[in-house]
């Protein structure tokens, strides 16, 4: 990789030992991935969570060292040109009546939030930064963690980010450069797989099903969708999240919607797809729902909405459906949101309606990270359903928001068109 004199000086320690190490990681990473240079970074979305339940029972020194490494990143300043926000934590900073939200870990997370804030990171604590102000423009060079947000940034906004992990996003935000490879380059943004959709996608969970189906086939490739209407923001969010759950997709093209894919030819960059094309019809839709559901009964104890974090519109829709209703007493209904969205929901009265019905808005985190104590979960997110199965050990039912809320009120799964 060719570095500028300024970049080389950082690599040689001109800005201290820690930034030297950050630059070393970025250069090694770039060289491994075929980058030829480093380019200035406009935007970062970084991961700074205390490990909490993820490291329950681990050696205390391992956890302490990890947290100390996060502190070290926060002792340096975000590059002046870079807009940097923070991804979901593994705890909520609010009161929560489950032992999994360990108060000592909450204290550490607050400390990290303060350090991060002083360093120039905005502690949004969300997996959907584009819902709370971090909306990069077309062509902006980003270093984003959160696999679903990466797909959203590339595919819906036309911004450019490869799939980042914590060290690369933090390092890039501090040094102000990122190695140029993958979807940062035009030639790696071309479609590799054509997915022709022949069935109507009725709501956001159906879009999640499409993503879950296509991600598995695409792997690390770039699916191109035809035959679909323009999704709204919440539907696009579900599509992107599911693509990066069953697969390792960095971007997709929705022909006519993705900024750089006005036509099918443009989506493939004039080249033939690498993989044979696939059809997503009513049968594939049904099978995708069924394949993820593993419930052995109808009694439920948890309903999880807002994966990825709910938009204010979704919160409003959920509040409208719960107005004057009562969630079954044995059911925990959580709507996961960014703190900024909750502030808005508080102001609008949505929070009060949801709380009066027996639900709550969960800020900063997500139930799989907290390891929600659950036996049977209903959720509208394919990503949540996929990971909750292994992480919480619960049985899952993935369903439309309407059917999730119906189940919450009834206290049991009431069935839908995808049941056997």
């Amino acid at each position: 990789m060719e570095l500028t004199a300024e970049q080389l000086s950082v690599l040689e320690g001109a800005r201290g030992e820690f930034l030297r190490r950050c630059m070393r990681w970025l250069v090694d990473w770039g060289e491994a991935m075929g980058a030829r240079r480093m380019v200035p970074l406009d935007n970062a979305h970084v991961l700074l969570p205390v490990p909490n339940q993820l490291m329950r029972g681990a050696r205390p020194e391992a956890v302490q060292q990890y947290v100390e490494e996060l502190r070290e990143f926060c002792r340096h300043s975000v590059a002046p040109q870079c807009y940097a926000t923070v991804h979901t934590a593994f705890v909520t900073l609010d009161e929560l009546d489950v032992p999994q939200n360990d108060p000592e870990q909450v204290r550490l997370q607050r400390e990290l939030a303060d350090l991060a804030s002083a360093a120039g990171f905005i502690p949004t604590f969300t997996c959907a930064p584009y819902l709370v102000g971090n909306v990069p423009l077309k062509g902006e060079i980003c270093a984003w963690t959160e696999s679903s947000a990466v797909v959203y940034a590339n595919s819906i906004l036309g911004a450019r980010t490869t799939r980042h992990g914590n060290e690369s996003a933090l390092a890039a935000a501090l040094v102000g450069w990122v190695p140029e490879f993958g979807v940062l380059l035009d030639e790696h943004r071309r479609g590799t797989l054509l997915v022709h959709v022949t069935t109507e996608l009725k709501h956001s969970t159906d879009w999640g099903a499409l993503g879950y189906f296509a991600g598995k086939i695409a792997g690390l490739g770039i699916p191109v969708f035809t035959g679909v209407r323009r999704p709204n923001q919440d539907e696009a969010k579900q599509l992107c999240a599911a693509l990066a759950t069953s697969g390792g997709v960095s971007m997709c093209h929705l022909v006519g919607i993705t900024p750089e894919a006005p036509t099918l030819e443009a989506a493939f960059g004039g080249q033939a797809p690498r993989q044979p094309h696939v059809v997503f019809g009513a049968e594939q839709l049904r099978q995708t729902y069924q394949a993820l559901r593993n419930h052995t009964g109808d009694e439920i104890d948890s309903v999880i909405l807002g994966c990825p974090h709910a938009s204010i519109r979704e919160v409003g829709e959920i509040a409208f459906k719960l107005q004057g209703k009562r969630i079954a007493s044995h059911v925990r209904l959580w709507v996961n949101v960014a703190r900024a969205t909750k502030a808005n929901a508080d102001f609008m009265g949505y929070t009060q309606i949801i709380e009066r019905a027996g639900g709550r808005l969960l800020c900063d985190t997500c139930p799989t990270n907290i390891r929600i104590p659950a036996r049977r979960i209903v959720t509208h997110g394919f990503k949540q359903a996929h990971y909750a199965r292994g992480m919480t050990g619960a049985e899952v039912i993935v369903a439309s928001t309407d059917n999730c809320i119906r189940a919450a009120i009834a206290g049991r799964w009431c069935g839908d068109e995808y049941d056997d």
Binding site: M55, V63, G165, E167, L220, S246, G247, G248, Y387, R389
Partner: protein, 139 residues
Amino acid sequence: MMTEFPGTSIVRGRVEGEALVADATLSFWGEVEPVSGRVIAVGHPLEGQSIAGRILIIRSTKGSSATPMVLRLCSLQGTAPLALVNQEIDSLAALGCIVNRIPLMVVKDPAIFHTIRSGDWVVVDSDQAKVTLKRTGAR
């Protein structure tokens, strides 16, 4: 018996150990428990098995961007794989292996998934860019 697979070195180093093999993808966050190194993804071919100290041969990583974070936690806990061999390279696997100094190679030949089986003894020589099956384990 010696079977050799040439490949591309992504992170250098030479290690040998027991293979853990699946013609499948894996997200470390959400599908691997860092405290034990156990794969927790329901229905995954490696479900219930531990990646700790193994030479993990899979198609690629996928899914969560917290994959490097979990590799870091595994590394600090002592449950990281000894080496990673992928058919295709996800930027997250590359990052996690660079930060944690875990040898990483790309071997494109899909025959590796049926020639090398879990339990076989394997040498990953990422300095010479080859993976060698040294002896087969109990099958």
